[in-house]
């Protein structure tokens, strides 16, 4: 998503303080820590971490096919004695957790740090979950930086901790760490010897008997980590002058607390799991009452209550979203029975919403325009730019929950259909990278269980939503170097889709797409329609000559607006009464030629042929024909 944020790599010998995002700071520290292997799957807000790490030649970096594989790669390197790193967004750990939950038993040889970026405030995610649970669930330590400097410093500390306790360490970030820029003092790379892999089946082969012997070691490690938390520099007590309320807080919430209550005592947890109960008890004794400020679930609060602490938290603070000063100040004033200092307010002014849209000439535009023409269909969607197809003007996506889920949901919609819906068509829409991430298995399930689903595989050769990252479908690696490229048609055939049911269609050839969709949805067996035009944000995309509208020829039908292209603008509206007596709304349009890249999608629905190439207008008006040469990227 945040591809607009430039990836800036600081010089190898750096000046004292640099303006860095939390993601850049983590990447720098990964390099400084002597890490040799780093892996990730892109996901907002974590994406830039690996993009920045990849710029350091000393580190092997990869885009993995999904987060579970990325963690397994990092773990393998850690078994081999290398320091290794992996980064993911919060929902990525749901996928990776199967590996995490057992590597906590084996532990690691080389240091392994896992950065998990929670999207507190839901800037670009399907849910808002609290990754601090994973520390507790997997019995691994968890660090929470509060700004870019700490993102850097805590990453280094996490590697130290990981090697001292032979345990994977979670570095918990949030959007407000990843994407905030602040000044950071950085250091140099510290190369480390690599011990090499030591064969030890009792440790690395987790069969029940071996795992059973590792369990007590894991709990003993947690006991030692709790003792470490009591003395760790990562946990800081700041005794203030106003002792009415003491705050226990972690991560970016600390900055909001400090900003809002400059004189209050604060226990800032950097190593926030396991909790240092004895230190917290001493802190509590110095305050009249204790308030826990944590984003987002009441984890610290619940554990403190279980220990008999008298604390307040989520009974006065929200259970979701950021705990910024405008949330904290009124809640605490109310708790203290004080009136909030009256602030002059500037009233909000109502303005239309501006939801994200698909890009000008995006190949998905034509797909959704076509899907919007289908009747009696349920469309099972997935995670990516094409999720936007649920919105106006297409209204052509009916469900979306998690990576790859379009496949299984579609099969379930097919098998669970009501008698009244027996003729309903089930279509699944999934992007190339999402398909490779977690969709392939779902398609295999559809085939194996003889589902009646038409799959639209939108191959745009990029992870579009996060800024056009490469993947096994793009034919390039994380450095942009040529890499083996998946052949989607052969892949889906290998999964068992019959050859006659596999079609590769140009996403800009709407009549062919519509015809293929109509035919395949009638046939009661699995089909896959692969669309094959590149994302307009990547270098594979080549812009063509822009179009414009001949003003006199535009009849105001508004059909072109239904494509949903952001380069089409209404110049005036009108309402006329037809001979039949029916009232019709007209919208006359122009094309923002500076933005138009000539995909030609809007030509297809334009009945009066009012849309022409910009340069044809400068010439004597000729008949302009719609033709195949208008297709970009081919």
């Amino acid at each position: 998503m945040s591809a607009e944020a430039a990836i800036s790599i600081p010089p190898m010998t750096a000046p004292s303080r640099l303006l860095m995002s939390g993601n850049e700071a983590v990447a720098r520290a990964v390099w400084e820590a002597g890490v040799r292997v780093a892996a990730a799957y892109p996901g907002t807000p974590s994406t830039e971490i690996l993009e920045c790490v990849a710029a350091y030649p000393a580190i092997y970096t990869e885009w993995s096919v999904n987060e579970k594989v990325s963690l397994e790669v990092a773990f393998g390197a850690a078994m081999a004695g290398s320091r290794s790193f992996c980064a993911m967004k919060h929902v990525g750990m749901n996928v990776a957790s199967d590996a995490l939950m057992t590597m906590t038993l084996t532990g690691v040889a080389g240091g392994l740090v896992i950065a998990i970026a929670d999207d507190v405030g839901l800037s670009s995610s399907q849910n808002e979950q609290d990754s601090r649970y994973w520390g507790r669930f997997a019995h691994v330590p968890l660090l929470e930086p509060a700004d870019s400097q700490e993102a850097h410093d805590f990453t280094l500390a996490a590697f130290e901790l990981s090697e001292r306790f032979e345990v994977p360490v979670i570095l918990r970030l949030t959007t407000r760490i990843c994407h905030v820029k602040g000044l950071v003092s950085i250091g140099e790379r510290n190369e480390r010897p690599v011990a090499g892999f030591t064969k030890d089946v009792s440790r690395w082969v987790m069969v029940p008997s071996a795992a059973g012997r590792r369990l007590p070691l894991m709990f003993e490690r947690e006991r030692r980590l709790r003792a470490e938390a009591e003395i760790s520099d990562l946990n800081v007590v700041e005794l203030g002058s106003d002792r009415r309320i003491g705050f226990v807080t972690s991560g970016p919430a600390y900055m909001h607390v400090r900003e809002s209550f400059p004189d209050a005592p604060v226990f800032k947890l950097g190593l926030s799991f396991p909790l240092p109960f004895a230190s917290l008890r001493r802190f509590a004794d110095q305050c009249e009452q204790l308030v826990v400020v944590e984003e987002v679930e009441p984890l610290i609060e619940t554990e403190l209550k279980a220990q008999g602490f008298n604390v307040t938290g989520k009974d006065i603070l929200p259970l979701s979203g950021e705990l910024s000063p405008q949330v904290l100040k009124p809640a605490i004033a109310h708790l203290l029975g004080e009136a909030l200092a009256e602030q002059a307010k500037t009233a909000p002014m109502p303005v239309f919403p501006r939801p994200p849209t698909m890009c000008v000439a995006c190949p998905h535009l034509g797909v959704y325009y076509t899907l919007s023409q289908l009747r009696n269909v349920t469309i099972s969607g997935d995670i990516g730019c094409y999720t936007l197809g649920f919105g106006q003007p297409w209204n052509a996506l009916d469900a979306c929950i998690s990576m790859g889920a379009s496949m299984g949901m579609a099969l379930g919609l097919d098998k669970g259909r009501s008698d009244a819906e027996k003729d309903k068509k089930i279509v699944a829409v999934i992007g190339d990278s999402t398909f490779l991430h977690m969709g392939m298995q779902g398609l295999l399930d559809i085939v194996y269980n003889r589902g009646n689903v038409t799959v639209l595989l939108l191959d745009n050769r990029a992870v579009g939503m996060t800024g056009g990252q490469d993947n096994p479908g793009s034919g390039r690696d994380i450095h942009g170097q040529e890499a083996p490229r998946v052949d989607f048609a052969n892949l889906v055939k290998a999964l068992g889709v019959r050859e006659e049911r596999v079609h590769v269609v140009n996403a800009y050839e709407l009549p062919v797409l519509l015809k293929t969709l109509r035919e395949e949805t009638k046939i009661p067996e699995p089909s896959v329609i692969i669309t094959s035009q590149p994302c307009v944000l990547i270098k594979d995309y080549h812009a063509l000559k822009p179009y414009t509208v001949i003003e006199d020829k535009c009849t105001g039908c508004g059909n072109c607006i239904d494509v949903g292209c952001p380069a089409i603008h209404v110049t005036r509206r009108d309402r006329v009464t037809k001979a039949s007596g029916r009232e019709v709304d007209l919208a006359f349009v122009r094309i923002e030629s500076a933005a138009c890249t000539g995909c030609g999608l809007c030509l297809k629905p334009c009945a009066p042929d009012a849309i022409v190439h910009v340069d044809t207008l400068a010439m004597p008006i000729k008949v302009v024909r719609k033709s195949a040469e208008l297709t970009p990227g081919a």
């Binding site: 998503m1 945040s2 591809a3 607009e4 944020a5 430039a6 303006l19 405030g121 800037s123 670009s124 700004d147 407000r176 994407h179 905030v180 820029k181 602040g182 000044l183 970016p252 900055m255 909001h256 400090r258 900003e259 809002s260 400059p262 950021e322 910024s324 000063p325 405008q326 002059a344 307010k345 500037t346 009233a347 909000p348 002014m349 303005v351 239309f352 919403p353 501006r354 939801p355 994200p356 849209t357 698909m358 890009c359 936007l388 106006q392 003007p393 939503m465 800024g467 944000l537 607006i561 949903g564 292209c565 952001p566 089409i568 603008h569 209404v570 709304d585 919208a587 349009v589 500076a594």
Partner: protein
């Protein structure tokens, strides 16, 4: 400048839509503040910014900055890259704060579809609500200079006389970005910066004259 926590912090909110260069402009403002020895934090509420959605970038600088977010009602300056977006974020401004805004419009598909209306006159509506507004057509200025992408340099020129440091510091930070590229880019940006500065000054005079 506004009181925030214990420290004297300047709050600048830069708003627009995805792809306009809002985040880059804020980054350059941050660099200028750093050059003068300030502590700086910059943060975005970008959402799915690249897809033409709403972008608001918070910049806070001063001796020591804690929370990266500007609290509603405490922005000193609101720099609006798009007319309706300036209106959307007006509540972030402190009552006596200043709006510097592009009157250029970016109309989203949701409005073109007839589902919502674009405000008739964002500048007049904000003024009627008592907000101090300097408005100018930065998109037009950039186009006249030959490239719509110069819009963010025009906007930075416009804010340059409303910062707690000299305009030249900001100008140097912009031109430094292009120094390694073509010389003509440096010159174009210099002109865009000057044009933005002049536009804001003219807008200030126009507002003062209207208030008489």
């Amino acid at each position: 400048m506004s009181e925030s926590g214990k420290f004297d912090t300047t709050n600048i909110l830069v708003v627009g839509t995805g792809g306009q260069g809002v985040m880059t402009a804020t980054e350059i403002l941050a660099e200028a503040a750093i050059a003068l020895g300030h502590d700086v934090k910059k943060t975005e509420v970008a959402g799915m910014a690249q897809r033409g959605g709403v972008v608001s970038s918070h910049l806070r600088f001063g001796p020591k900055v804690l929370s990266p977010q500007i609290t509603p009602g405490s922005a000193d300056v609101l720099l609006g890259f798009e007319a309706a977006e300036a209106m959307r974020w007006r509540h972030m401004l402190r009552p006596e704060g200043l709006v510097l805004m592009n009157t250029g419009r970016l109309v989203p598909p949701i409005v073109e579809l007839g589902l919502y209306d674009y405000p008739d006159d964002p500048v007049a509506e904000m003024r009627a609500a008592g907000t101090h507004v300097f408005a100018f057509d930065a998109s037009m200025i950039a186009q006249e200079l030959g490239d719509i992408r110069l819009g963010n340099t025009v906007m930075l020129g416009a804010i340059s006389d409303h910062l707690p440091f000299p305009a030249e510091v900001l100008e140097r930070c912009i031109l430094k970005r292009f120094a390694s590229k073509k010389a003509e880019l440096v010159e174009l940006n210099r002109r865009a910066f000057a044009a933005g500065r002049a536009a804001a000054e003219a807008a200030a005079k126009a507002e003062a004259a209207a208030a008489l």
